[in-house]
C-alpha cells in the first residue's frame, strides 16, 4: 500500500511557501524593530567595549594581581592562587593575553546580565506554581536547542557583533541560575518562613531576610554553572563577531592549525577551572555557619 510506504508529507510547494512566509514575517519584524532593539542594547555594548579596553590597557602585572586576589577571596587557598598566577603567566607568554582579556570581558558581562535577569526570574518562579510550569519548558528549550539555531534570528535582528554574541551566550547560560534560584527558594525551611510570618514580616522582609539568604548556596551554584556555560559558548559566539579566545580556535579549525587550536582551547579550560574553583569554594563558604561544630 502506498499509504504505508510513504509518509504523508505536505505538498512541496506549500511547504516552501510556508517557510518563505515565516522568513518574510521575521524579516519584516526585524526591519521594523531591529534598530530599536539595537538602541536598547547600546548601553550594554558600551559597557562591554569599555570593560574590554580597560582590561587590555591595564598593565598585566596588575591584572595578575587582581586575579590572584580574587582567587584568594574566593577559594582561600594558596594552591588556587598559585595555579591562577601560573595560568595567566603561561597565557601571556604564549601571546594569548589580549584574546584572554576580551574573553574575560564578555564572560563577566554575560554573567552579570544572567544574574540581573536570572535571579528575579527565579524568585518569580518560586512564588507561583503557575509561573514555574510556564517557564520551565522555556528553559528546557533554551538549554537543549542547538545554539546555531537561535544564532539565526539573533543575527537577523542585530547583525554581527558583540551584542548578538552576548545575547547568544546569555540565552545558553541563563537557565541554570534561574532554575537554582527557584529551587533554592522553594527548599527554604518552611518553619523558618512561618516564623517570619508569625513575627509579621512583609513580603520584602521575608524575601531579603530569609528566602534569598537561605537560598544563597543554591543561587551560587547557579552562578557557577552560568559562568561555566558562558565559557563553553565562547567559540560559538566568536562566529558572530565576538573577539576573544574563540577567534583563533575558529581559525585553527578552518586551517587545521593544531597547535593554535590546542593552546587557545587550553586557555579557555584554564579560565574555566579558575572560575569554577573560585566560585564553588565561595559558595561553600557561604554555608559555613550551617555546620554544627560544638565549640561551646
Amino acid at each position: 500500500m502506498d499509504f504505508l510506504d510513504e509518509f504523508p508529507t505536505m505538498d512541496r510547494q506549500e511547504l516552501r511557501e510556508l517557510k518563505k512566509a515565516i522568513d518574510l514575517g521575521f524579516r519584516n519584524f526585524s526591519r521594523a524593530y531591529g534598530d530599536a532593539l539595537e538602541t536598547f542594547f547600546e548601553p550594554l555594548l558600551y559597557f562591554m567595549v569599555w570593560l574590554e579596553k580597560l582590561l587590555i590597557i591595564t598593565p598585566w602585572p596588575i591584572i595578575i594581581l587582581i586575579m590572584a586576589g580574587l582567587a584568594w577571596l574566593g577559594a582561600r587557598s594558596w594552591l588556587a592562587v598559585a595555579g591562577t598566577v601560573a595560568s595567566f603567566f603561561v597565557i601571556g607568554y604564549f601571546g594569548m593575553w589580549e584574546d584572554t582579556m576580551a574573553t574575560l570581558a564578555i564572560i563577566s558581562v554575560a554573567t552579570l546580565v544572567c544574574i540581573v535577569v536570572g535571579i528575579p526570574l527565579g524568585i518569580w518562579m518560586a512564588r507561583s506554581d503557575r509561573v514555574q510550569t510556564l517557564i520551565t519548558p522555556v528553559l528546557d528549550v533554551m538549554q537543549t536547542i542547538p545554539s546555531f539555531v537561535y544564532l539565526i534570528p539573533v543575527v537577523m535582528l542585530l547583525g554581527i557583533g558583540k551584542v548578538p554574541g552576548l545575547l547568544a551566550v546569555c540565552i545558553y547560560a541563563v537557565p541554570p541560575i534561574v532554575r537554582l534560584t527557584n529551587l533554592g527558594i522553594r527548599l527554604v525551611d518552611k518553619e523558618v518562613l512561618e516564623a517570619a510570618d508569625a513575627f509579621g514580616a512583609n513580603y520584602r522582609q521575608k524575601l531579603f531576610d530569609v528566602q534569598v539568604p537561605l537560598a544563597l548556596p543554591n543561587i551560587f551554584a547557579g552562578v557557577n554553572q552560568t559562568i561555566m556555560m558562558s565559557l563553553a559558548m565562547v567559540v560559538i559566539a566568536s562566529m558572530i563577531g565576538v573577539k576573544g579566545l574563540g577567534v583563533p580556535v575558529l581559525r585553527a579549525i578552518s586551517n587545521q592549525y593544531l597547535a593554535l587550536g590546542l593552546m587557545n582551547g587550553l586557555a579557555i579550560v584554564a579560565l574555566a577551572i579558575i572560575f569554577d574553583r573560585i566560585s564553588q569554594n565561595f559558595g561553600k563558604r557561604l554555608q559555613k555557619h550551617r555546620e554544627g561544630g560544638h565549640d561551646v
Binding site: A198, G200, E291, D295, V296
Partner: protein
C-alpha cells in the same frame, strides 16, 4: 485571673478543596473519618470554643493529629479558619485587614516553635533582635532590648554564635528570647519543649515559669505531655479529633477525667506528686492534728501525717485553718479510678 484575654468562638477548620460546603456535614455530626472517606476533606477543628484568661498559662493537650498545631496557628491567623471568631481584647482577629493583622503579629502576639525555626545565617543577637527589626524599632533600642533578653534567658557570652553551634536547649532559649523581646502580651508556644531531652525540658520549664512569674503574659502552650501540662498550666484544655473534650484546672482534669480519652492521659502520672490537698480536703476543720498548707501535694501530706502518727490533718491557707483531710481520703486519691481492663491503679 478573671479578665478574658482571648475568646475563641465556634471555630471550625476543614482542610480540602471546598471546606465551606463541609461545615453542614460536620454540624450534622459526621465524624472525622467519614468526612475523609466520603468527602475527601480533613477535619482540623470542630466547633472549638475556649476562653483564655489574661496573665495565665493555658495548656492545650491532645494526641498527635488532634489539631493542636492547627488551633494555635489560628491565634495569629497563620491558618485561616473555615468559620468562627477569635476575639483578642474585644477585637476579632479574623476581621483584621492585612496591615492590622501584620501589626497584631508584630506587637501583640509572638510565637515559639517546636523546631526552634531560627535564622541559621544570623547570629544569636540578630536572631533575638529579629522581631524588633521587623517592628522597625530604633537601633539603640533594638540592641538594648535584645541584649537584655539574651541575658535573661542565660545566653550571655553566646551573642556572636550561630544557632547551629548551640545545643537544642540553648537554641530554644534563643527562640524564647526572640519571642519575649517584642514585648507582645500573648505568647504562643507550639510544643516548644518537645524536641528537648527530659532534663533540659524541665530546665526550660523552670526558665519559662521563672519569667512568667514576673511577666504575667497570656501564654498558650501546646504539649502532648501531661507532666509538662501539669507543671506549667493554670488551665488545661484537651483536644481530640479537633474537638475540645474537657477544660479545667490541672487538679480537675486528674480527679474528674471527662471520658476514657482523658483518663488515658492521666493514667500514668504520679498522682501523689501532682494532686494538692486543696483538691480533696473537707471544708470542716478538725480539732487537732498536724497543720499542712493547702497547696501541699498529697504525697508530702502523707509523710506529715505518718510522722505525727495522726489520721487527720488541719489544712491551712496563709496559716489560717480552712479545712481538714484524713488518711483514707488521701489514700483513695492516690489510687486512680478503675479502668476498663478492671485493674486498679496503684500509687507508683
Amino acid at each position: 485571673m478573671s479578665e478574658i484575654k482571648v475568646k475563641i468562638k465556634n471555630l471550625y477548620k476543614i482542610f480540602g478543596a471546598n471546606p465551606a460546603s463541609m461545615i453542614s456535614h460536620i454540624r450534622n455530626g459526621t465524624s472525622k473519618q467519614t468526612l475523609l472517606d466520603e468527602h475527601g476533606h480533613v477535619l482540623g477543628l470542630n466547633d472549638v470554643s475556649l476562653d483564655i484568661a489574661a496573665g495565665g498559662v493555658q495548656v492545650i493537650m491532645g494526641l498527635s493529629g488532634s489539631g493542636k498545631s492547627t488551633l494555635i496557628r489560628h491565634f495569629n491567623r497563620l491558618i485561616e479558619p473555615t468559620a468562627g471568631e477569635i476575639i483578642v481584647d474585644g477585637r476579632n482577629v479574623i476581621e483584621m485587614g492585612k496591615n492590622e493583622l501584620r501589626d497584631f503579629r508584630r506587637f501583640r502576639a509572638s510565637m515559639v516553635f517546636q523546631k526552634f525555626a531560627l535564622l541559621p545565617h544570623r547570629t544569636i543577637t540578630d536572631n533575638v533582635a529579629y522581631g524588633l527589626v521587623i517592628q522597625s524599632s530604633a537601633k539603640d533600642e533594638i540592641h538594648e532590648r535584645s541584649q537584655k533578653w539574651i541575658d535573661r534567658v542565660g545566653l550571655t557570652g553566646f551573642e556572636s554564635y550561630y544557632p547551629a553551634q548551640l545545643s537544642g536547649g540553648m537554641q530554644q532559649r534563643v527562640g524564647l528570647a526572640r519571642a519575649l523581646a517584642t514585648d507582645a502580651e500573648i505568647l504562643l508556644m507550639d510544643e516548644a519543649f518537645s524536641a528537648l531531652d527530659p532534663l533540659i525540658r524541665e530546665e526550660m520549664q523552670d526558665v519559662l515559669l521563672g519569667l512568667q512569674e514576673e511577666l504575667k503574659k497570656t501564654i498558650v502552650f501546646i504539649t502532648h505531655d501531661l507532666d509538662e501540662a501539669l507543671r506549667i498550666g493554670d488551665r488545661i484544655a484537651i483536644l481530640r479529633d479537633g474537638t475540645i473534650v474537657q477544660t479545667g484546672s490541672p487538679q480537675d482534669i486528674i480527679l474528674n477525667p471527662a471520658d476514657d480519652y482523658v483518663t488515658d492521659f492521666t493514667k500514668n502520672i504520679n498522682r501523689g506528686r501532682v494532686l494538692q490537698v486543696a483538691a480533696i480536703m473537707d471544708d470542716k476543720t478538725s480539732e487537732n492534728g498536724p497543720k499542712i498548707e493547702r497547696d501541699m501535694v498529697i504525697e508530702d501530706a502523707l509523710q506529715v501525717l505518718s510522722k505525727a502518727d495522726a489520721t487527720t490533718a488541719i489544712v491551712t491557707h496563709n496559716a489560717k485553718p480552712v479545712g481538714s483531710v484524713d488518711l483514707n481520703t488521701i489514700i483513695a486519691a492516690l489510687t486512680r479510678p478503675i479502668d476498663d481492663s478492671g485493674r486498679t491503679g496503684s500509687y507508683t
